[in-house]
């Protein structure tokens, strides 16, 4: 018994010496990530993580990012360690990070194990909902010791989304078809972030029930479900020209002022820009609703 007590004291003392600057944060995989002091050299393995780190006020700590990290503009000149699905472990080590931020579902199977073997704390990011965006910015702020900045930003996002929900959540629902590609025809199901934004704006994704996240869709089922609004998205740039295709089907009610296009860059990444994208989509849907 004495021995156990002594061991406990020893452990407590050991923990005490660590807590000086130690930060422990739970990541999105449910693991607890501990950094001995606020991270100074961070490698981020997905464009949306880079963006969120800037939102948390810690963008200047980045020493390695992956390709397509194009926002904010400063991120473009950061050193690359590869792409999100093919990164170089050597390059990561060479940048001497004290924290690695990885993308749970995007970095490939076994990525976590490989990165953990480098002996650097690894934080897993996996954003599934709009609420996860401010939550993620808060956690990144704690890891980098920039809580003051990250808390303000997280609060701004929460307020912004709450205001949109209050304004449009109870509005008359509009049926919406969101087109992420036109040939072949591709949309998103109800789990996708874009679909959550549509719901936030008082819309109803007509393919929320589809089996996969980004299913290829049958043309005739779009005609059959006859949405009030068709939104043309894309990957990086907006594609308003896709909307012309729908004019050959006169039975579509969306032809009556319901053809919209949005900048897909704003609403497809789980980052602070999703609020701007949501505001844009909400106001466009509201214009359809009120007939302006």
């Amino acid at each position: 018994m004495k021995r156990v007590l002594a061991l406990c004291c020893l452990l407590a003392g050991y923990a005490g010496t660590l807590t000086a600057g130690t930060v422990t944060v739970e990541d999105f995989a449910g693991r607890s990530v501990t950094v001995p002091e606020p991270a100074r050299r961070i490698v981020a393995l997905a464009p949306h993580i880079v963006e969120n780190l800037y939102s948390a006020g810690a963008g200047d700590r980045l020493v390695g990012v992956v390709s397509y990290s194009d926002f904010p503009i400063q991120a473009r000149s950061l050193p690359r360690v590869g792409s999100f699905n093919a990164f170089s472990l050597e390059q990561i080590l060479a940048s001497k990070p004290d924290l690695i931020l990885m993308w749970g579902s995007g970095n490939g199977a076994g990525a976590l194990e490989k990165l953990e073997r480098l002996g650097v704390p690894v934080y897993v990011s996996e954003l599934r909902s709009l609420d996860d965006i401010p939550a993620s910015i808060r956690r990144l702020g704690r890891l980098a010791g920039t809580e003051a900045h990250s808390e303000t930003e997280a609060q701004r996002l929460e307020d912004g989304f709450a205001r949109l929900a209050g304004e449009f959540g109870a509005a008359a629902p509009l049926s919406v078809f969101y087109q992420i590609w036109h040939q072949p025809l591709q949309t998103v199901n109800g789990v996708h972030l874009i679909s959550q934004i549509i719901t936030l704006c008082g819309g109803r994704n007509i393919f929320a029930d589809a089996a996969t996240l980004a299913p290829r869709i049958n043309l005739e089922s779009v005609l059959a479900r006859n949405p009030r609004v068709i939104v043309a998205g894309g990957m990086e740039t907006a594609h308003p020209e896709w909307l012309e295709h729908w004019r050959q089907y006169p039975g579509l009610q969306a032809l009556n002022g319901g053809l919209l296009s949005v900048n897909p860059d704003l609403i497809q990444r789980p980052t602070a820009r999703a609020l701007d994208g949501a505001r844009d989509l909400c106001s466009k849907l509201e214009a359809v609703r009120t007939g302006n």
């Binding site: 043309l219 089922s221 005609l223 059959a224």
Partner: protein, 345 residues
């Protein structure tokens, strides 16, 4: 021996008759099925243009071009496969073996990366399809050149050259994908998946003209192909212009398969297994094998496409998965009955 031959001929005629009856029935069935439920009676009246509502729009503008395109492409792939297996006297030969599929993929990828995908070509065909066609035909010509010498064209060398060019084009394509941006990467991967949902009247017209002429020309080579089954020198002694026949067959197959890849992407399996199934049923006589394969391929692809539209509706399944899921069990059960089949050439 002679009774055996007569017996076979009779069987072949019965199979051809059955397939000729089944094809239009399958196509009607496919016209009546889709994500939107349309009653059989309404399908017919919509097809004949009796009503002008949504049903006629869906049947005439969306389903009809698609079903017809599936039939033509399926027929072309299967007949080309039969001709290739006959020419190479190799049960593994399939149209993609001479490099046409990989060449077409590379052609399409090159054009997408070069940024030409937003430009429209002629007749509603994108420039990407055109590049795919050119890539496919060029790859075949290259394979043919590699395998040809003053002594003629070696079939074995051609198979190996086909594999080499396929690997090279595949690597070049992967390299392009590695360096390109997200949006183009998506275009390439979606193009590669292919599918019949891009069926429009202009595309159908083009497929009918090009693939249709391949379907008309290939059966003329039935007798030379039969003679080639004896071996090349035997065929030469029997008065067949072996090298000219080879070049002609390869060119026509390249045109047919190139068009099909350009229009609907790669649909594996139809060209490989349909001819085998038909050969197991009625024997290797190309006079009946070629047309029966074409009909069988058309039926298989029309069925598979109808299923791909309906199984997970409104989501579409890739049609290649379904052709394999329908065809493989049938093929395996035939192989089980005649397990020496693979030894024959």
């Amino acid at each position: 021996m002679i009774t055996n031959v007569i017996h076979r001929r009779r069987r072949a005629q019965r199979l051809l008759l059955l397939l000729v009856i089944m094809l239009p029935l399958t196509m009607l069935l496919a016209l009546g099925s889709g994500a939107v439920k349309i009653a059989p009676g309404d399908t017919l009246s919509a097809l004949l243009g009796a009503d002008r509502g949504q049903a006629s729009l869906i049947v005439q503008q969306i389903r009809l071009p698609r079903v017809l395109l599936a039939a033509i492409i399926g027929a072309t792939l299967a007949m080309s496969g039969a001709a290739m297996q006959g020419l190479f006297r190799n049960p593994l030969a399939d149209p993609s073996l001479i490099g046409v599929t990989a060449g077409a993929s590379l052609g399409a990828s090159l054009l997408i990366v070069a940024g030409g995908s937003s430009l429209t070509g002629f007749m509603g065909l994108s420039l990407v399809s055109l590049a795919a066609f050119v890539g496919g035909v060029l790859a075949v010509l290259l394979v043919y050149r590699l395998a040809s010498s003053d002594n003629g064209t070696s079939v074995a060398t051609m198979l190996l050259a086909g594999i080499a060019i396929t690997a090279l084009a595949g690597a070049a394509g992967s390299l392009l994908e590695f360096f390109t941006d997200n949006e183009r990467l998506r275009q390439i991967s979606l193009w590669k998946m292919g599918g019949l949902d891009g069926a429009t009247l202009p595309r159908l017209l083009l497929a009918t003209v090009v693939a249709g002429s391949v379907l008309l020309v290939l059966p003329r080579y039935a007798l030379p192909l039969n003679t080639l089954l004896l071996g090349e020198s035997e065929a030469r002694h029997l008065g067949i212009a072996v090298n000219r026949t080879k070049l002609a067959l390869i060119t026509w197959v390249a045109i047919g398969v190139g068009t099909s890849v350009a229009l609907v992407g790669t649909i594996a399996f139809v060209g490989l297994v349909v001819p085998h199934i038909v050969r197991l049923l009625i024997g290797p006589d190309h006079r009946t094998l070629l047309p029966a394969s074409a009909l069988g391929g058309a039926i298989l692809l029309v069925c598979a496409d109808a299923l791909s539209r309906t199984l997970l509706a409104p989501t579409e399944l890739p049609v290649g998965i379904i052709t394999a899921l329908i065809g493989v069990p049938f093929f395996i059960s035939l192989l089980r009955q005649r397990h020496h089949y693979g030894m024959q050439t």
